[in-house]
Amino acid sequence: MRRIPLPVLATASLVLVTLALALVFFVAPNDADQGFSQRIFYFHVSIAFTAYLCFGAGAWKALRHLWKRDPRADLESYVAVHQGVIFGVLVLLTGSIWAKISWGHWWVWSENQLVLFLVLFLFYAAYFMLRFSVDPGPQRANLSAVYALFGVVLVPVSFLAIRLSQSLIHPQVFTRHGPNFGGWILAAYIVSQVAVLVLAYTLYRVELAGKLLDVRLRELRLA
């Protein structure tokens, strides 16, 4: 996958996202219950899944750094976590918009996914605070890697905890009807998911390339 040149990836994401937008806004039928506003869900779900994948990728690279001592793994882990946080913030934003449309409030505690992303956002924001209060070097790489691994364990544990907490906090149940997967709805969802994944990978590769260039420029200047 590293062989795919950057402009190709970027153009692919441009095409795919445009296609996804077209499908979501023009082709997919209105949701029976929620009407037009439900369309944001196509992107909200795609972005959420992509964010989880980014955190997972960050943890995988972190493991490779600690275990195999792969020299690029620390940087790749950092960039993956960074993308994960960006997409995580987007989850919170799109989720907030959806909550406002659905229930009239910009934030609802009854949505497990939203609350989970809030906790994860706090956790991974601290990742950056940790990383930038240590000077660059092997110790920073180790600490970041260990923290990224903690994050990946925290995801299922937090999800379980938040599910348990719902019975503490919410006697009422907000019913939300999931989309009925038929025809164009499924197609729109699949295209959106692929589009967001390709976009995320593109952004990851671009940021990684930029950082690697910085490193090489620095070496050239010192030489």
Binding site: L6, P7, T18, L21, L199, L203, V206, L213, R216, L220
Partner: protein, 46 residues
């Protein structure tokens, strides 16, 4: 779709379009920089 919804859709598309065009431009720039640095490194090592 109502007019309002059409405008919302158009707004989404325009924003996304601009952002993605920016990503394409950055990708091209990064590729050019990589080639330049490869060349510089070859000159240094050669």
């Amino acid at each position: 779709m109502t007019t309002a919804e059409k405008y919302v859709t158009a707004a989404y598309c325009v924003v996304f379009g601009v952002v993605l065009l920016y990503v394409v431009i950055i990708a091209l720039k990064v590729q050019r920089m990589e080639r330049d640095i490869d060349k510089l490194e070859q000159e240094r090592d050669g």
